[in-house]
Amino acid sequence: MGSDSIDPKVLIKQAKDGDKDAFGKLYKLYFVPVFRYAYLRVSDKEEAENIAQEVFLKVYKSIENYNDQGKDPLAYFFTITRNQVIDFYRKKKPISLDQNLPVLENLETSFGNPETFVDQNEKARVLNMAIQSLNDIQREVVILKFINGFENNQVAEILGKSEEAIRQIQHRALKVLKQKLEGLL
């Protein structure tokens, strides 16, 4: 059975019927967004890769029970991803406040002195820290909307909120990021 379509709704239906090519195409469509989301939630490349792997394995194993209800499969993938991230933090040993302090200090100095942005890695590190300073829902909106490039209606579906609520959260998140990234702008 071949799968020529790239419409995720069609692909997931074909994958449900046992079409491995269709599952492969879903992987190509969603693995990177899932990985990016996981990475910016756990700040660890290896863990993010493991989470993304686990998400696709779970989808593969439970695809028989998938019921689309006319929704974008993206929401299905990201519901599993969010649960995986929650599981990750549940299993992870708590980090003491002392361990976090140096990071906070670096964050402050980096924002204050633009000259310290010597390379792209440093810029990425500071951006990452600014994202981590957002609250949970703001962080999720920023990752889904600006890092993964999803539309407001897709983000709303994934997070179970209205598009208007997403717009407001996005606005507040950008305001916080503007304050945190003053040195970069």
């Binding site: 046992g18 990985f35 951006l127």
Partner: protein
């Protein structure tokens, strides 16, 4: 959207480009899927491939038919198996009145058998001793 917000969005998009998963991810995933793929079992694959829209009513019909015949034949077979009331007698050895004697009889038999066994062993010993004496 003001100038600063546009710049933040461009920075975030730049960050996104730097976040790429390792290329080996797909191979790892496929290896994981293969190792956990229970659907490789032919009988599970057969069940998965069944058209349940047609198979389910058929299975239900067969079960209903079987149940019907079992129900129809059940009373007859019970009547045939059960003894009639006038012919039915409780075996004597299990009535409450003589249950002690049954037990005593059994004990007596066991004692007799034990005594017989002792006697046989004594006889064998005696024969053995006699043979030993003769051999000297």
């Amino acid at each position: 959207m003001n100038k600063d917000e546009s710049k933040i969005i461009r920075l975030l998009q730049g960050l996104a480009l730097s976040l790429t998963p390792p290329k080996s991810s797909l191979e790892k995933l496929l290896a994981n899927i293969d190792s956990e793929d229970v659907t490789k079992e032919p009988w599970i694959r057969y069940i998965y491939s069944m058209n349940w829209k047609f198979a389910a009513p058929l299975i239900l019909a067969v079960l209903a038919l079987g149940g019907f015949f079992a129900y129809k034949s059940f009373p007859t077979s019970v009547t045939q198996l059960a003894p009639s009331a006038e012919n039915f007698q409780i075996p004597q050895e299990v009535t409450a009145q003589n249950s002690d004697s049954v037990l005593t009889q059994t004990d007596q038999e066991i004692n007799q058998n034990m005594n017989q066994l002792d006697q046989d062993l004594k006889d064998v010993d005696a024969v053995q001793q006699e043979e030993d004496v003769n051999s000297i």
